[in-house]
Amino acid sequence: MNHNRQSNDGKHDDDSALSDFLASLMDYTPTIPDELVEHYLAKSGFQCPDVRLIRLVAVATQKFVAEVANDALQHCKARQAAVVKDKREKQQKDKRLILTMDDLSKSLREVGIPVTCSDVLKKNGHAFLFFVFND
């Protein structure tokens, strides 16, 4: 019974935390606009009149994209640190952090999205993405 009471308290805490979080979501404006999220959710069959859930989905997507971008940034910085030691010119030029396909494909592979962009296609100027989402 104690165990149950504890678990019940735990559940209540979790419930309250969740409901508080959902309430706080209304104050927080995610970077991805609500209209865009609503459009794509409606396209995929998601029906919900509650705005908080829309915000939750938007925040989740933002978190995902931020993680991927962060990983790519780490790759980029690591690459620059390895090269910079030799020439000063390159150091000044490469101070700018630029998102490239190489870094992006590396970070996406870690998440489980294999992205391939062959060199031949790059020369032609097209970037074809072949990736699979795990459902």
Partner: protein
């Protein structure tokens, strides 16, 4: 906003892509909005620029993630026998998508969804990350157009033909849209009357044109060196003004043809200053009636007489027209011209003119052949 850098290759690719697929697609608006959002997120992470292809790829992936979340959540809701999703459906969907990446508490089986690791991570994310709202206001899209529906039987206040047709269905189209009715040509054609009408209209036009050129002549008639021919004409006319019976009789076989008649002004008052060559008098009318390039030669010749002393009658079409116009002028100013209507004198003139023209044609065949 993040600067977008692109190498030469990607820029060429963009141009080619835009030229190949220049037509706007249905999803373009959503895609461009997501591109902006993703660029903002990259900037918040720490990037100063991104390649166009990489940005497009990341935007595409974020859209797919969003769609997958929605699909998963609706799947779980349907599994539970609901049509509307709730927070637990979303949590399950997040767990499904995050399986490959890993989240705290993934290995726990049978724990309540409320305490799910994914939600906790999101909570952490919201607490730590600063708020970055979207750069521009986004309108509600996609825009739904109001469809024009076909009005129902009730709306048209018609009763459907058969009992089996309910009145709330769209009405049938009007019978005149699908029934073929014969067309009768009500106007009867009368060729004689049409020709008469046509001739009358032509005469009207000619009269108006004559009036116009006379007005022009009155306003500014240029005096030229009077030709000997004209002088002779006027003298003859003056002489024979006394009696028409003293005129030269007609030769046998020759017809009394009323051809070119001098304009009333010429025969009326032999004022030398006002001497106008026929050419000058009718130059504006001729110019107005100039039809095509075939008369180009005539137009060139028309302005020559100012330098030459004699009247040049080198155009055939003009002559005909002159004849008609002069007839009309006769009708207009009946009393004045009738006394000066001397056919034999004109015939002599005409002969002289014809000889002159013949001489011109033989001497200058090249000029006439120009066209």
């Amino acid at each position: 906003m993040t600067g977008v850098e692109s190498t030469r290759d990607t820029k060429k690719g963009e141009e080619r892509r835009s030229s190949l697929s220049g037509r706007p697609k249905a999803d373009d608006f959503g895609r461009s909005v997501s591109k902006i959002a993703v660029a903002q997120i990259c900037e918040s992470v720490g990037y100063q620029g991104c390649k166009e292809s990489a940005l497009e790829a990341l935007a595409d992936i974020s859209i797919r993630y969003l769609c997958d979340l929605g699909k998963n959540a609706s799947f779980h809701a349907n599994l539970a026998g609901r049509t509307e999703c709730n927070v637990f459906d979303i949590t399950r969907a997040l767990e499904d998508l995050g399986d490959s990446h890993g989240f705290p508490g993934a290995s726990e089986v049978g724990s309540c969804l409320v305490g799910s690791g994914t939600v906790r991570e999101i909570v952490q994310f919201v607490d730590t990350k600063e708020e970055i709202p979207f750069a521009q206001p986004v309108p509600k899209f996609p825009v739904v157009r109001n469809q024009k529906l076909i009005p129902s039987f009730e709306h048209m206040k018609e009763t459907p033909s058969g009992k089996h047709t309910p009145s709330w269905l769209p009405a049938f189209p009007d019978p005149h849209t699908y029934n073929h009715t014969p067309m009768w040509n009500e106007r009867g054609s009368d060729p004689c009357a049409d020709k008469i009408e046509q001739a009358r209209q032509r005469r009207k036009a000619e009269r108006a044109l004559l009036r116009l050129q006379q007005r022009l002549v009155c306003n500014g008639s240029t005096g030229t060196s009077s030709s000997t021919v004209l002088d002779a004409k006027t003298e003859n006319i003056q002489e024979s003004r006394s009696s028409p019976f003293l005129a030269v009789p007609l030769q046998p076989g020759e017809k009394d043809v009323s051809e070119v008649v001098l304009p009333a002004k010429l025969s009326n008052e032999p004022i030398k200053d006002d001497h106008v060559t026929l050419l000058e008098a009718y130059a504006p009318a001729i110019e107005a009636m100039k039809t095509g390039p075939s008369n180009g030669l005539d137009s060139e010749k028309m302005f020559l007489p100012e330098k030459r002393p004699a009247v040049q009658f080198k155009f055939k079409t003009g002559k005909k027209v002159l004849g008609e116009l002069l007839d009309l002028s006769l009708q207009k100013k009946g009393e004045r011209s009738s006394t000066f209507f001397l056919r034999d004198e004109e015939r002599d003139d005409k002969k002289r003119r014809a000889e002159f023209i013949l001489r011109q044609t033989t001497e200058y065949p090249m000029e006439l052949n120009q066209s």
